[in-house]
């Protein structure tokens, strides 16, 4: 066990990325990601890491630059938030189609409008179908660990896909809290040098990101789908390797007191630990409550989710984003779809919570459970509600 240190999470993420022997970073600063951008550029400017830091004029350029650098065989990193991610959107499917193992930290933040700089998941949700692997973390330790592990996942020969590490803005990025920082030596042992399967080079021309008409486009999409699906196995393998080396194992779907739970809640990101405290309170009152924490959003861990839902009678899905005019929050839709074919499945409830930085306290998580347990006629199942909304 290493020594616990205290550091702001955004700075810790930059430090962790700095241990990954990155060749290139292009990061355009945006709240609440800015401290990642600032600290990474400090590490480069002060000579701590041998890396090309490209100052770009927008997030669109940041993503374009890392696509180019990754294509040239550079281990490349970027980070963004909210509007920055929206501006990158056009390029995200190109990065995955070109099978470029870029790692991107996302300090999740609400998307305008109205203008809001605080935390929710409305920036990552519209990127769902970009063909990127999407991981979620809930504390400093996970942000550090998975920012490093992400490179190993991305660069694995059976993956070769970009990875986003979703780190709740402010709630995590601006929090000083304890964690263990791996040493440079440990990271070197864990993360081998990046060996690209093909690179752009003037003396050996290749085409990347070529043109495809209807004769090949479908096949290429199918190949991409297969690649994203197949990455799931490698992600768990890399998590297992991490667990073995650092004593902190990770799963695609994490649980808390879920084994015998009658009523469960599902969270993604930093609210998991607060919800955990609600589980403890409910358990103390004799309610068999449990928690499911979805770490992997894409590829979606269908089997792993089904395995942990077990015999729960009711499942509360929390969403940190909206799908306006849709069937409920985006996570809710996904969970319902994942469990649709099951002969035995829980009643599924949906609360849209914590939008634009609105705090959710332990007592509110308890309140969600109480509401659902009080719904004995199951009237609210399959519907969604904006938790705590003023009407």
């Amino acid at each position: 066990m290493g020594k616990r240190i205290g550091m702001e999470v955004a700075v810790a993420v930059a430090e962790a990325v700095g241990l990954c022997n990155i060749d290139m970073a292009a990061v355009y600063p945006i709240t609440p990601q800015s401290h990642i951008a600032e600290h990474l550029s400090d590490l480069v400017a002060d000579g701590h890491i041998d890396c090309e830091f490209v100052t770009v004029e927008s997030e669109h350029s940041a993503m374009s630059a890392v696509i180019g650098a990754s294509g040239a065989g550079a281990r490349s990193y970027t980070a963004t938030s909210s509007q920055g991610l929206m501006l990158m959107h056009e390029l995200l499917p190109i990065a995955s189609a070109m099978r470029l193992p870029i790692v991107m930290g996302i300090a999740n933040r609400a998307v305008s409008g109205p203008l809001n700089i605080l935390n929710d998941h409305s920036d990552i949700m519209p990127q769902r179908d970009a063909g990127w692997i999407a991981l979620f973390v809930e504390n400093a330790q996970e942000a550090v660990d998975l920012s490093i592990a992400a490179f190993k996942i991305a660069e694995h020969k059976d993956v070769m896909l970009p990875v986003s590490v979703n780190i709740d803005g402010f709630q995590l990025t601006h929090m000083v809290e304890p964690f263990e920082m791996p040493t440079q030596e440990e990271v070197n042992e864990f993360l081998p040098p990046f060996v690209p399967h093909a690179t752009l080079h003037p003396s050996k021309p290749v085409t990347m990101g070529a043109f495809a008409m209807s004769d090949y486009f479908t096949e290429i999409m199918k190949a991409k789908d297969e690649a994203v699906k197949a990455s799931k196995k490698v992600i768990q393998q890399v998590f297992d390797e991490w667990g073995e080396k650092f004593g902190r194992p990770y799963k695609l779907v994490e649980t808390y007191k879920a084994d015998d739970a009658d009523v469960m809640m599902l969270t993604m990101g930093s609210m998991g630990e607060t919800a955990q405290m609600a589980i403890d309170e409910l358990r103390a009152k004799g309610v068999k409550a449990g928690l499911v924490k979805l770490r992997l959003w894409r590829p979606f861990p269908f089997e792993e989710l089904k395995a942990v839902i077990g015999n729960a009678k009711k499942l509360i899905v929390t969403d940190r984003a909206c799908s306006f005019g849709g069937p409920g929050g985006p996570v809710f839709s996904e969970i319902k779809s994942a469990l649709y074919a099951e002969a035995r499945r829980p009643l599924i409830y949906n609360y849209i919570i914590g939008l634009g930085g609105r705090d959710v306290q332990v007592k509110e998580f308890v309140g969600m459970f109480e509401n659902v347990l009080a719904d004995t006629a199951n009237k609210a199942a399959d519907t969604y509600e904006f938790w705590g909304v003023r009407e």
């Binding site: 616990r4 240190i5 205290g6 550091m7 702001e8 609440p32 700089i117 605080l118 935390n119 402010f170 709630q171 601006h174 929090m175 000083v176 809290e177 304890p178 930093s270 609210m271 630990e273 607060t274 955990q276 405290m277 930085g357 705090d359 959710v360 306290q361 332990v362």
Partner: protein, 182 residues
Amino acid sequence: MIEVRWHGRGGQGAVTSVELLAVSAIAAGKYAQGFPSFGPERRGAPVAAFTRIDDKKINVRSGIYEPDVVLVLDSSLIGLVPVTDGLKPDGKLIVNTPKTPEEIRRELNFQGTVATVDGTGIARKEMGVPIANTTMIGALLKVIGVMELDAMKGAIDHRFGRIAQKNLNAMKRAYDEIKILN
């Protein structure tokens, strides 16, 4: 677990203080969180910052609404910001002011522990600047215990370099001079 809410004005260093305190507490083997009130901040405008310290892992990530301790870095905020809002009735109120704890208790009608120290005066004398954020860490540690003043040295040295000692001296004076009314 101890939860502290800091009141200051943008630029007075409340956020720096919560960071230094959390880093030091963690280095001393505790678990801690330090965080600002999230959102835009402007120089001179009222701001809040928060500290949690515990002996075991802290899981709660929501805001602090019922603090055990409130620390007011700038006494001009009294009357402007409801600094005792949610403060536990048996909680502790620490104010950077030349006034006595009795005066502050009367002004705010707060019956819990009230402690005052002229942090700005100390900062002026020890550091030559009227910035009392690190000075008031000394006051806080006297009131809440939880760790030795020496535990701050590493983080203060790291942050302030050659002027670290002046900060530590000011902190020590606030620790020694604070007046506590239980």
